[in-house]
């Protein structure tokens, strides 16, 4: 029999399997009454013309059925998106004074995009807030200001005035002290100052092993502490949002997303992210085996330090002295995703913060850091 006929048939059957979410053997059974028929044809097997005619007719019927169903299909990203929107609307409807914590990273970018979707055609009914440690990449700050303006949301920027007064920074005080004062304490100050009763955060359960059991609505006491005993059961999609004065909720609408989901969604939805995620020639200095970007002149350059121009990008964004660059040739988003998929180490390795002794994520969360 005509080989093109068979290979066309196999191609269409494979496309049907992908778009219908059914396995090839299921499709094969439906078309040929034989779970292995398709793979035999694919490997050069033959069948009678009568069988082929019947199979083609069935294939066509299935394709038509599917195109009608296509409008009703929900992919895993559709479902994750819908879940996040549901969570955001619940907060908007139930909490008195919510805020979205915006850290300018890729997860925040996804969260902001979801917020635009959740309330469309209204603007999201809460402000964005960035806790600025004053050591963020310059590019992040520019990106932040531009995006807030484009989306039309109020942007609150808070930097810990005590830390600024004392000149706290990672180079002088070390990463633990800097992070505690400028980030953790800064965040608490801001939440107290504006009396927010709910704050969206972009944390994911797959991100770090201690988060696998975290709630979507995470209860925080009056002093912002996370208490294991005080976390509420979460069944179905019914969330208990009630807090007393002073208490609050951290709400994680993208809890169930994985890193790959985030990247895929950014790609599919064409979401803006800072260029720092893409590789280009940047001036870096190697410190303790980590490549640090020379982002401004506060960076101490010792006699042994060499500033090199390298093709680098960042897998996570934070304070530039605490965020290691990775050498990479990934200059487009698909390149980045490809690299991420082929890479062999988990995401957080680029974060200097995790390597600090005695500063586990767990402890940081109890203290109020995400």
């Amino acid at each position: 029999m005509n080989m093109t006929l068979i290979s066309d048939f196999v191609t269409r059957a494979e496309a049907l399997a992908i778009s219908s979410g059914q396995s090839l053997s299921t499709i094969s059974r439906k078309l040929l009454n034989d779970g292995k028929g398709l793979s035999r044809l694919k490997e050069g097997g033959q069948c009678t013309l009568k069988t082929m005619d019947e199979a083609l007719a069935k294939l066509e019927a299935l394709e038509i059925e599917l195109s009608g169903e296509a409008k009703l299909r929900m992919t895993h990203l559709d479902r994750l998106e819908a879940e996040a929107i549901h969570i955001m609307r619940e907060v908007a409807a139930q909490c008195e004074n919510p805020v979205m914590l915006y850290s300018v990273g890729k997860d925040s970018s996804v969260m902001l995009h979801l917020a635009e979707k959740a309330f469309f055609p209204s603007r999201p009914p809460f402000p964005l807030m960035h806790v600025d440690t004053t050591w963020k990449f310059k590019e992040m700050i520019a990106f932040r200001d531009r995006r807030a303006k484009e989306v039309g949301m109020e942007l609150i920027v808070h930097s810990n005035p005590d830390g600024i007064r004392d000149g706290v920074g990672p180079f002088t005080h070390g990463s633990a002290v800097h992070t505690d004062i400028m980030k953790t304490q800064g965040l608490k100050q801001a939440l107290d100052k504006y009396k927010f009763d709910a704050a969206f955060g972009g944390a994911r359960r797959d991100e770090e092993k201690s988060r696998a059991k975290e709630r979507i609505f995470s209860f925080r006491s009056e002093n912002h502490r996370w208490d294991a005993k005080n976390q509420r059961p979460e069944l179905w999609n019914i969330y208990n949002t009630r807090v007393k004065k002073g208490e609050s909720m951290r709400v994680f609408p993208i809890s169930n997303w994985t890193e790959l989901d985030i990247w895929q969604y950014i790609y599919k939805e064409n979401i803006q992210i800072p260029d720092l995620y893409l590789s280009k020639k940047r001036p870096v200095v190697e410190k303790d085996g980590v490549l640090i970007l020379v982002d401004d002149d506060r960076m101490p350059i010792g006699p042994d330090d060499v500033i090199e121009e390298k093709m680098v990008r960042f897998r996570t964004l934070g304070c530039y002295p605490l965020t290691g660059a990775v050498e990479s040739e990934a200059v487009t988003l698909p390149d980045v995703i490809q690299e991420m998929l082929l890479t062999t180490t988990s995401e957080r390795q680029g974060r200097v913060i995790d390597s600090d002794a005695g500063a586990s994520m767990e402890q940081k969360k109890e203290e109020g850091y995400f």
């Binding site: 778009s19 396995s23 895993h76 409807a93 069944l235 208990n240 895929q264």
Partner: protein, 637 residues
């Protein structure tokens, strides 16, 4: 992350396109550590290549140090290692883990099988479509298997995989597998699972987990992963009646008024006729609005915003339904409940009940029984403690729109919140409404007597109490009304007090005015019966003709004459209001029995002899009459 998928390296755009088409499944694994649950999850993560090399290096190191599998990698360490990280007494200990294949993304709710398992497992099961129950082939169906099956069934999981694990230890003996399968199907027959798939496996070696095993060539069914990749959990929900619980009213400006929410079941299209429960207001769908453009159709689980063609009042808490298949509404329910708090349940105390989109004060009226989750028996109790399951009746301060949990998990579930601490103390699944306030406006019927009385779940009637002054008519009528109210019926009583001072205050006690009095009362009573009410009229109404006139205003069978038969001497001796004395003294003219005639009924439907019978007994007799004659449909017990 060493994905084998060749496309990643060669055609990343093609890879991304293919990955976008993935579907989604949430499942729960139940079993204790000894059943090999952690090994199974570790195996799924490992075989789907979702372990980074640095994580793997750690496990390999740990396997040598503390593993139980000799030189093999102990995959349980991957999962148990994560769990150890957080054993700080977190309440509700459910870990969510993620993996995906080229076809589906999976979220696994991993719950510890030991202490406190009930609330943990219920939490994980509440969002799961499939439950994987592990059974150690060496021990077969155990008490804990029954517990786990009961809990997932309670939470409405319909698809169950029975993973008969550790088959390597019996050389994949088919008869052992068969016995366990028969046992499981036998005891779970009444648990409402729509499909049960038994798989012989060894999680340790990977047999029939992701790869078909050569050791069990007698087994023709799918591997666990094959099953998880193709099981269809979607279809039924799309055929279910459309429900959109309104979460948030979207009002960016005066020209746009949309109703945002996540579709709880079914589908909706532009142009569909809708009805809002509980208000009963109707309209048609104008647009299905999303950020990505308007859609013609939306389905279960989509988060959308509807606009309607009419300006009707809708707020958070309402459910938008299709016109022909509205949700029910009620304020009293029977529900299955699971207690989640260290503080026991207090029947009678007011809690806040929160459904998917509405919060109302509610109290537990009566705890019918606790269910022993080991043998499914019913135990009479006064309260529920942590992790206990029971059946209770609840009373809400306002009606809510709902479906039975068995029909719809999204619109039949609720949580109870303690008003003082704001803790979530209990969760529940609605069984049915006690007072069926069934919404009846769904069909485009004219609203008439039949529709109104159907809504009240009763047949309207007029109980006409006649008898001498002081015979006890009003006393009995009041008792009857109280009993009917207790039974959830809709009633009204007309008597001299509420008629003489208003409607008939222009009438006196002359014969002509007495006739007119009864005529007006008859007309008002007819309107009340038309409204669907069980109406009581309590008047001396001395003349047969006027009683006949009232009877003729109503349909056959609706008029029930109750002759409250008290001899004049007895009534006069009682003389509760002192009226007989005044009549005898001539102070009141035309007093029935003294100087005006009383024509006793000849064929009254009910005759009460108040000399032989107390008022309570009389009321009981009348209510029984109504039950027997079918005026109270849906009456149970």
């Amino acid at each position: 992350m060493a994905h084998l998928d060749d496309l990643i390296a060669t055609d990343i755009l093609g890879y991304l396109k293919a990955q976008e088409e993935k579907s989604f499944l949430r499942f729960i694994t139940c079993g204790s550590v000894d059943d090999g649950k952690s090994t199974l999850i570790g195996r799924l993560l490992y075989d789907s290549k979702l372990i980074y090399e640095d994580q793997l290096a750690t496990i390999e190191k740990d396997s040598k140090k503390s593993g139980t599998q000799g030189d093999k990698i102990d995959l349980a360490l991957l999962v148990d290692g994560l769990a150890a990280e957080r054993e700080q007494g977190i309440t509700i200990d459910v870990a969510y883990r993620f993996f995906s294949t080229d076809k589906r993304k999976f979220i696994v709710a991993d719950t510890p099988g030991h202490v406190q398992y009930t609330r943990n497992m219920a939490t994980g099961a509440s969002t799961a479509d499939v439950a994987v129950l592990l059974i150690d082939a060496r021990y077969g169906v155990q008490e804990q298997t029954r517990r786990h099956a009961f809990i997932v069934s309670l939470l409405g999981v319909k698809h169950v995989v029975v993973a008969i694990n550790k088959m390597d230890l019996n050389g994949f003996d088919q008869s052992i597998y068969n016995d366990i399968e028969v046992d499981f199907r036998e005891f779970s027959r009444d648990l409402g699972f729509t499909d049960i798939t038994c798989i012989p496996m060894s999680a340790l070696d990977g047999d029939n987990v992701t790869i078909r095993s050569d050791n069990s060539d007698w087994y023709k069914g799918p591997t666990l992963l094959e099953y998880l990749e193709v099981v269809d959990v979607d279809k039924a929900a799309l055929d279910a009646p459309f429900r959109l619980p309104v979460q948030w009213v979207n009002r960016p400006n005066l020209d746009f008024r949309g109703f945002s929410g996540t579709v709880a079941s079914g589908t909706v299209e532009v142009g569909d006729e809708i009805i809002v429960i509980p208000s009963g207001k109707r309209s048609t769908v104008k647009e299905i609005v999303t950020f990505d453009g308007n859609r013609d159709i939306a389905r279960e689980d989509m988060a959308v915003t509807l606009t309607l063609n009419d300006e009707i009042d809708i707020s958070r808490g309402d459910i938008i339904c299709k016109k022909d298949t509205p949700a029910e509404q009620a304020d009293q329910f029977q529900a299955h409940m699971l207690w989640m708090s260290e503080n026991e349940m207090f029947p009678g105390r007011q809690y806040l009940l929160k459904t998917g989109n509405k919060t109302v004060p509610a109290s537990v009226m009566k705890l019918k029984h606790r269910i022993d989750i080991n043998d499914f028996s019913e135990v009479a109790v006064d309260t529920l403690a942590l992790n206990e399951v029971g059946v209770a009746t609840l009373s809400l301060s306002a009606p809510i729109a709902f479906d039975a949990y068995n029909d719809n998990r999204n619109t039949g579930s609720f949580i109870l919140i303690d008003r003082q601490t704001n803790e979530t103390v209990g969760v529940g699944m609605l069984d049915f409404a006690l007072r069926r306030a069934k919404n009846v406006v769904w069909q485009d019927l004219d609203v008439n007597k039949a529709v109104r009385s159907e809504q009240k779940n009763q047949k309207p009637a007029l109980l006409w109490f006649t008898g001498l002054s002081g015979s006890g008519k009003s006393t009995i009528a009041n008792l009857v009304e109280k009993r009917l109210l207790d039974l959830g019926r809709h009633t009204y009583t007309l008597d001299g007090d509420n008629v003489r001072h208003g409607l008939n205050r222009d009438l006196n006690f002359s014969k002509a005015d007495r006739v007119e009095n009864i005529r007006r009362i008859g007309e008002v009573a007819r309107l009340m019966v038309d409204a669907g009410l069980i109406t009581m009229a309590s008047f001396i109404s001395p003349y047969r003709a006027e009683r006949r006139m009232a009877r003729d205003l109503l349909e056959e069978g609706e008029f029930i004459e109750v002759f409250v038969n008290t001899p004049l001497e007895v009534a006069e001796a009682r003389d509760v209001k002192g009226l007989y004395a005044k009549a005898r003294a001539g102070e009141i003219k035309n007093f029935t029995g003294i100087d005006s005639e009383y024509q006793a009924p000849e064929n009254a439907e009910i005759t009460v002899d108040t000399v032989k019978m107390s008022a309570d007994e009389a009321a009981e007799m009348i209510v029984t009459y109504l039950k027997d004659k079918g005026f109270m449909s849906g009456y149970e017990g």
